[in-house]
């Protein structure tokens, strides 16, 4: 987003969160990348950066609840435009309490937009998250090579993928149980594999303590232990879990048409037959869109933002929920039988045809042809509101 806005002639300064840039300011692809603050969310430097950049707006891409109510981001007289990231339903006061003096709120899903409007916020603007549709694509004729690259010996193997941080909201144990139920109900389907693209150890309690401060909340699980309990540790080719190092370092989006050594996300999605994201709640669910763009249909919980991002994929009804504290906000528990049934339906359908439908559908999230038009309109409206010229012909921007 930042580089694309810079290319359109906007001045964009990026203040990296998480203390990432402790060196000097640098310019990359037209974006000024400034020094980070000592506070992980830049609450100690953001006002200075805003003023020095002579910014018109501060856009914060992070869950609003983590900002200190007395910190610079919330307290300063600046045009704060936070992303309204809402992964649960109804929206928690821990989020809404941080939004009352915002200039605008960007809702990256219609679900988030509805939640905020129902909470009385009128300054909400829907701008979808984007993907690079031309990069995330179907690698026609290379599915078998992709599976082989990702360590599946048999190109016929029916493969699912869960891409999720190992934390409570993602409901990994429940998703694994859904897969286990699928295996139980379909003993004749022997060639299956589920790639769990996540940290096998899970977020520890110590991490969770810090994360709670950061607003991510809840600890993850030891996936290996869970698999043993479910009897999924044997045979070993039914579940694939990458090494912790791979997860922590990540892989690039695309590293070229080399199907023997070049690991990347596009080939990972192409190796899979479905993307599973039956979590407790999602504002957007990027793996669903990226997967669809690669022709790999998704399965998601029929709650929060998942359904609007699964396209021609499948939704699974939830049969229970858990409350998050006293605010009444809920995470949803997808039906285990429903997940198994959805995987079976994907298995039995014409996956190639479904994949092409998914890819066509995903084009609406393409940065260039879809999402940037939302940004153009948004910035044009903001300009008229921030620098209006009032004449007998009406109100237009003067800048």
């Amino acid at each position: 987003m930042a580089t694309r806005l810079a290319k359109k002639g906007h001045f964009v300064a990026h203040v990296p969160m998480g203390r990432v840039n402790r060196m000097s300011d640098i310019v990359d692809q037209g974006v000024l990348i400034t020094r980070s603050g000592l506070n992980p969310w830049n609450d100690d430097v953001i006002r200075r950066r805003y003023v020095d950049s002579k910014a018109d707006m501060l856009i914060t891409l992070k869950e609003p609840w983590l900002f200190d109510p007395n910190g610079q981001t919330i307290r300063s007289a600046i045009n704060n435009v936070p992303y309204g990231i809402i992964d649960h339903d109804p929206v928690s006061p821990a989020i809404t309490s941080k939004l009352h003096t915002t200039f605008k709120i960007i809702a990256p899903s219609r679900f988030a937009e509805r939640q905020l409007r129902n909470s009385g916020f009128q300054n909400v603007v829907y701008i979808p998250h984007g993907i690079d549709w031309n990069t995330y694509k179907i690698l026609e004729g290379h599915k078998a090579e992709c599976k082989k690259l990702w360590y599946m010996k048999d190109p016929e193997i029916f493969t699912g993928i869960i891409i999720a941080r190992n934390q409570g909201r993602k409901m990994l144990p429940r998703q694994i149980r859904g897969y286990a139920r699928f295996l139980e109900l379909n003993p004749d389907i022997r060639k299956t594999n589920m790639i769990i693209w996540s940290d096998a150890r899970g977020q520890t309690q110590a991490d969770a303590d810090e994360a709670a401060i950061l607003g991510i909340s809840s600890q993850g699980i030891d996936i290996m232990h869970e698999l043993r309990l479910l009897g999924l540790d044997e045979p070993r080719d039914r579940i694939t879990i990458p090494s912790i190092e791979v997860i922590s370092q990540g892989v690039p989006d695309w590293s070229g048409p080399d199907y023997t050594n070049a690991f990347d996300m596009v080939k990972l999605y192409n190796a899979a037959d479905f993307v599973m994201l039956c979590s407790g709640g999602e504002c957007v669910g990027m793996p669903l869109i990226e997967g669809a763009s690669c022709g790999t249909a998704g399965i998601t919980t029929d709650a929060t933002g998942g359904p609007e991002h699964v396209g021609p994929g499948l939704t699974v009804k939830w049969d229970d929920y858990i409350n998050l504290g006293s605010s009444g906000a809920r995470y949803f528990l997808a039906s285990i039988d429903g997940m198994a049934e959805a995987i079976t339906r994907i298995y039995n359908t014409d996956r190639e045809k479904l994949g092409h439908r998914a890819r066509s559908w995903a084009k609406r999230f393409d940065w260039e042809t879809g999402v940037m038009s939302y940004w153009d309109k948004f910035l044009e409206d903001c300009e008229t509101e921030l620098r209006p010229r009032v004449t007998s012909e009406g109100v237009k921007a003067w800048a």
Binding site: V51, K54, S76, L99, H100, F103, G120, P388, W398
Partner: protein, 348 residues
Amino acid sequence: MGLKIAVVTPWGKLTRCGIRSYSEALTSALAKQGVESYIVRLPRFGDKTPEIVRNVAESVPAGKVDLISVQHEYGLYMNLESHFYTELRRHGLPIVTTLHAVGVIGSTDVYVTRNSSRVIVHNKHCARILRREGYRNPFIIPHGCDFKPTIPREEARAKYSIPPQAKIVGYVGYLSEYKGLEILIEACSRIRDAYLLIGGGWHVTGPEPENVTHLKMFAEQRMPSRYEFTGFVPDEDLPSVYGAMDCVGYCSHLATESGALLMALSHGKAVVSSPLPPFKEKEAVGALVTYRNSLDLTAKLNRLLNDEVERKRLEDGAKRYAEENSWDAVAKRHICFFEQVLRQKKAR
């Protein structure tokens, strides 16, 4: 070519702020007279720093305008006027500041008047305060009004499920502590068959402030089942909310001018207000009546509820005041004054 001015003010359709409403109405009226207004948006909420207000001043499009109009109220600048005006003066353009409140922080008044080419205030009372503080030349331009007929009483009351025969005292405005609503509640509670309709919210979305909770508790204690808080009233609903009222009580403890009171006059309502000097000025021209104390307020509201002739007299007075001080008239006075300031600048 018409006049081109920069206006430094809070702005934005969702910014709940009296100065924002004033600036929007004024610039629209100025536009009808051919004036182009370049709005320089001053953030309304949050902590300001010297750098933030300097950035605002610096962003004035000096090359495009003839004059800078600053809409000033203490809270908007948080004692950072020195940083703001120092930067603003660098543009070398005449600065006309409209002081929406005076006399609260004398040193700020003095600083602003010394660093502005000229200063506008809304009434004689404010001009007197500035003169007392040593500024000799304040220019009075009243706060504008926009006369809007209300919708018929029966229709308005049906909208809010209010019986047509009920006697309704009303108020519309921000529910701030200094608005004296507890006095209005107390006064209305003594009129046995009167109902109180309070419209208005607070400046930001979010939970109800403590003072509003207390007001509701007080109303429940003093006049149970005879009051209603409508919450924030959007502009388009004002004709129906005012239409439902018989008269308006305005009990502010502190005011140098009041957009909320003028809004009631603009809707042609009979108003009983606190005896503050700016309101006394309006009483002198027959636009409203003021009260001496709580019992007097009760008596005057009671009379307006029961005496149609007196109510009509005040409604006519309110309408007359609103028409005489219409935004169009106020805009014309601004233009004359701005031109005068520019002539003086050239003469120097």
